[in-house]
Amino acid sequence: MTDDWTIVVPVKQVPDADDVTIDPETGTLNRSDAPAVLNAPDYNAVEAALSLRERAGGEVVAVTMGPPFARAVLETAVALGADDAVLLTDRAFGGSDTWPTSLALAAAADELEADVVVCGEESTDSSTGQVPPGIAAHNGWAQLTYAEELEPRPDADELVAVRNVEGGHERVAAETPVVVAFEYGANEPRAAGLHRKIYAETEFEPEQWSAEDLGITDDVGLANSPTQVGGMDTADRAEREQTVVEDVDALADRIAEVTADD
């Protein structure tokens, strides 16, 4: 069974989007009050990883980086079927942008001897999509972003993906280890089984690794983040007439006016 794959799934805890408010005075986001939930695209990543495990054999390990309470999303991943989970937690990680975040996840994937890393397409709170290619770049591994379907070829040390690209699709074969960013909504995530859920919430304890455990203390955190948020404000809203017309004739007249301009 030495050919079995270790499939690592980096997941993220995000504020529940419905509960995030904008402070009208300062224009900044109040995220702290919002309950943390598993990033929605990560459900697709977990599902893709479990499906790979069923076909290729091996184990699925969820990893997250965050404060101690971020373990809640690891419990969710374990309830869904992940075999194990690791929490990367350390004050040194605070303030990390995508560069050190992907470094920490890359170091963890390397430590776990990952064959495949399956990420969600992007996070719902910052939606950069930069972490999956970042993990691949830090480790010098292959990458398959915008993947809609995965076909494991463990005997050939390859993973084949159907990628969604502008105007169509392509099938790409990549050498393992490989980092996948799985397209949001491209599979049907399974529901957590009751026994698994109880196990995740009662018995299960994730491993905890610090920046020092990974040997990256001096390379993470705010000081090692190239980008900085220089300000946040509410998006401009376009002024609109908001006129509701009664019938199609009236609407047709308005459209004819608009398209006849210039």
């Binding site: 770049a137 105007g167 392509e170 490989v178 900085q228 006129t243 019938d247 004739d249 398209t259």
Partner: protein, 342 residues
């Protein structure tokens, strides 16, 4: 001479120039590339630096010439079969080598599946700052790039800076800037650069690629978009678009349902459109969608739900089923064809 010798011991090497990546697939240039060339020209004029176009592909010398005609002071041309079709590894390695050798200050890349795929493969090893999916770009008095991007589903705009790392890289949403015009008399150099990538080093191979015409909804004067309310049937939307000489677009819902191709998606994870007229049919009006059509001159909404948020973002709305309203509208508008727009 090595870079260190050139810059002197302990001194920060100078980073200068605005770079724009010109994305090409099988002879077609992504529209966002020419948009970035126009914006890059503005930024370069403001900081008094050169605008450099980076062209990677196979048999793309004509694309490099066109980049000069559209505003680049210089085009760097990496021309080799290893770059066709696109793969993250070869593009990322070549781009990175050039960035580290030539040290640009600002690097702009289209926020396409391709651009978003390889940008990190440059930024990570180069220790550059990379801002994703920007919709506004500016430079401050010190020449620092101010990259603005929507965050949190479009409810807020964040300004991202990169004070201490170079280059300052950004991927930029398609459709937010006007494309640079072509001027055949414009002067500029095309420089063929050394290709540093070998096929043997590639970690992946493309088995099949099926890419049709890439719909460009970002340039259209009229856009008719369908959402969940089309319920799988885009015929009425297509007919109205045809009658108005416009393009068909869609909300994420319609794309996720597989009713229409992703290239036509408007909104946060899709494209930004700026037509004279935007018709939203059967689209509820989530902020993620509205963000992609906020710059439309006039917005018309058709929805069965009088309380749908889309009516707050529309100039003219009508409450009704799009499958009834649109055909009627199409017929009326066909009867009196609109004047051709300028």
């Amino acid at each position: 001479m090595t870079d260190e010798e050139a810059s002197g011991e302990g001194e920060e090497p100078v980073h200068e120039g605005v770079w724009v990546f010109v994305e090409e697939h099988a002879g077609d240039v992504a529209g966002v590339s020419w948009e970035l060339l126009a914006k890059g020209r503005e930024l370069a004029d403001e900081t008094d630096e050169d605008l450099v176009a980076l062209v990677i592909g196979e048999g793309v010398a004509d694309v490099a010439d066109e980049a000069v005609e559209r505003g680049a002071d210089r085009a760097l041309l990496a021309d080799d079969p290893v770059f066709e079709p696109y793969r993250a590894g070869p593009y990322g390695d070549q781009f990175r080598a050039l960035v580290e050798e030539r040290r640009p200050s600002i690097v702009l890349i289209g926020g396409t599946t391709t651009g978003r795929d390889f940008a990190g493969r440059v930024a990570v090893p180069a220790e550059a700052g990379l801002t994703a999916d920007c919709t506004e770009l500016d430079v401050d008095d010190d020449g620092l790039l101010l990259a603005r991007r929507p965050t949190f589903g479009g409810d807020a705009m964040a300004t991202i800076k990169c004070p201490d790392h170079r280059p300052q890289m950004a991927t930029v949403r398609a459709g937010v800037f006007d494309a640079a015009d072509r001027d055949p008399d414009r002067d500029g150099d095309v420089e063929t650069v050394d290709v540093v990538v070998e096929e043997g080093d590639a970690l992946s191979r493309v088995l099949e690629r099926e890419v049709g015409d890439v719909a460009d909804i970002t340039d259209a004067d009229v856009v008719v978009a369908g959402g969940g309310g089309v319920e799988g049937d885009f015929v009425a939307v297509e007919a109205l678009a045809a009658a108005l000489g416009g393009e068909v677009a869609a909300s994420r819902k319609a794309v996720d349902e597989g009713w229409i191709e992703p290239a036509r998606q408007v909104g946060q994870t899709g494209k930004t459109v700026r037509p004279d007229l935007y018709v939203a049919a059967g689209i509820s009006g989530a902020v993620q969608h509205v963000e992609g059509m906020n710059d439309a001159e006039t917005v018309v909404a058709v929805n069965t739900d009088p309380n749908a948020p889309i009516f707050e973002h529309a100039d003219y709305g009508i409450v009704g089923d799009l499958h009834e309203v649109l055909p009627e509208l199409t017929e009326r508008l066909r009867g009196a064809p609109p004047e051709p727009t300028a």
